[in-house]
Symmetry: C2
Subunit: 263 residues, 2 copies
């Protein structure tokens, strides 16, 4: 691992690269952490990815993603996700919890709580911490009924287990007027912190995210709140925006490092 920086590249940011290519490029750029997605592992193979990460001297901050507990058949897939996290040395599995199947949001939230409870022993057995990620409320229909920093820590705390925490993504939570008390109440539970920026205007609900500094998120303030909640681990830069693929790779990684140093 390259010492000294908490920057981790969430590899959805460079989804146009294979995982081995991304690992090599990160190492060359002096980025010591990465966070792969499962479809990237599937494309190259879990063992080859684990080897590529080891060979590049990188550490893994998390695996994205398990979850979708509201969808039938999620349990088996989530058990595999835990095993893949363990196989690549990811201490954290990020959970995108799944959308409601109809208008009954309380039922969806109950199904999520039950799904996490069933997955938890398997996660504990593998030394993987589950990180419940509240998504932006605009993603409720397709991705997650858990949409606030109010509910995710409460849900995590309900298991009273060191193997469940919360993933805080600046993009998903920055709008909340209660950020300060909510993060204070999440003390000890933050298992992952993701950054990017909210562009103005925002024209795409999924892939319209910006590089840090190009939008309206007060990232230094949010980082201070996350750190005050006890999180001192790697910080993932996760920017879902297809236009990043148009930049030369060296420039993109250098730009990400420079922007990271200012937040």
């Amino acid at each position: 691992m390259i010492a000294g920086s908490r920057l981790s590249l969430n590899l959805i940011t460079v989804d146009h690269w294979s995982l081995p290519e991304a690992a090599e490029r990160c190492a060359a750029a002096g980025i010591g952490w990465v966070a792969p997605w499962r479809h990237q592992l599937a494309k190259t193979g879990v063992e080859r990815c684990a080897e590529a990460i080891r060979a590049a001297g990188l550490a893994v901050s998390s695996l994205c993603r398990g979850g979708f507990f509201t969808v039938p058949g999620a349990d088996a897939d989530n058990r595999r996700a835990v095993e893949e996290a363990a196989a690549i040395g990811a201490p954290v599995l990020v959970l995108v919890c799944g959308p409601p199947q109809d208008g009954d949001l309380p039922a969806a939230r109950a199904a999520i709580a039950a799904g996490i409870e069933r997955l938890l022993p398997h996660a504990a057995d593998h030394g993987v911490r589950l990180a419940i990620e509240p998504l932006h409320p605009m993603m409720i229909g397709e991705r997650s009924a858990i949409v606030t920093l109010g509910e995710a820590p409460a849900l995590a705390r309900s298991y009273a287990s060191p193997h469940v925490g919360v993933a805080v993504d600046a993009y998903h939570v920055f709008w909340d007027p209660q950020l300060e008390p909510l993060l204070a109440s999440a003390n000890g539970l933050v298992a992952a912190y993701h950054v990017c920026d909210w562009l103005v205007p925002t024209t795409d609900l999924l892939a319209g995210r910006g590089l840090m500094g190009d939008g309206i998120i007060d990232l230094p303030r949010l980082r201070a709140l996350v750190e005050a909640a006890g999180y001192t681990g790697p910080i993932e830069v996760e920017v879902i925006n297809p236009s990043l693929a148009e930049l030369p790779g060296d420039e993109l990684l250098a730009d990400i490092k420079a922007r990271f140093a200012r937040i």
Copy 2:
């Protein structure tokens, strides 16, 4: 006014019609309430609009919209908005409060609070109630720093005036896991209630709204909570979706009435 129904047509739903045409069509369809937008008044003229509404025998539930307090020069425009509301007999002026100008959300929220305070005496003089509308958090960058049902009632209550309340729009707030306690805490403050539906998938941040019944909002539950908070006034159907303009007008209004009867 046509007795017996609380259905009000927010005229952005039929923005492809002039206001006089919309008024005639609503009256013919047995819809007794309308809620115009200011650009519709500007297009036809405020006095002609007031006359068209009177001639059709309609009542006005609200005028959309004042606000944008974070933008320089908002005060004069908001005073005109109050005067226009009074001129067309709208008891309520809906406030879309304005976006942050940078990453300082607390500053934007303070500017909004101060702007409402400056506008309030003018609203009181004209017998117009200001309705602070929390918008969906996905609209924070372009339209409003007020994005939760937690903060809007608290802000409204801070003025201790009968001339300030809250506009509850199902589309903007349905995702909130705290709906029940938040609406209970807004008792007596609800000045407007808007309905449409959240489509899955949602592909447009502004104009991707659905007719009631086509999405995942539990509208009967939300209506019960709004009524339990003391609101018994007209309910505005506000569906921003350009595809509605493709339907024959009579069919559209009949469909809206039928769907409204089920929520």
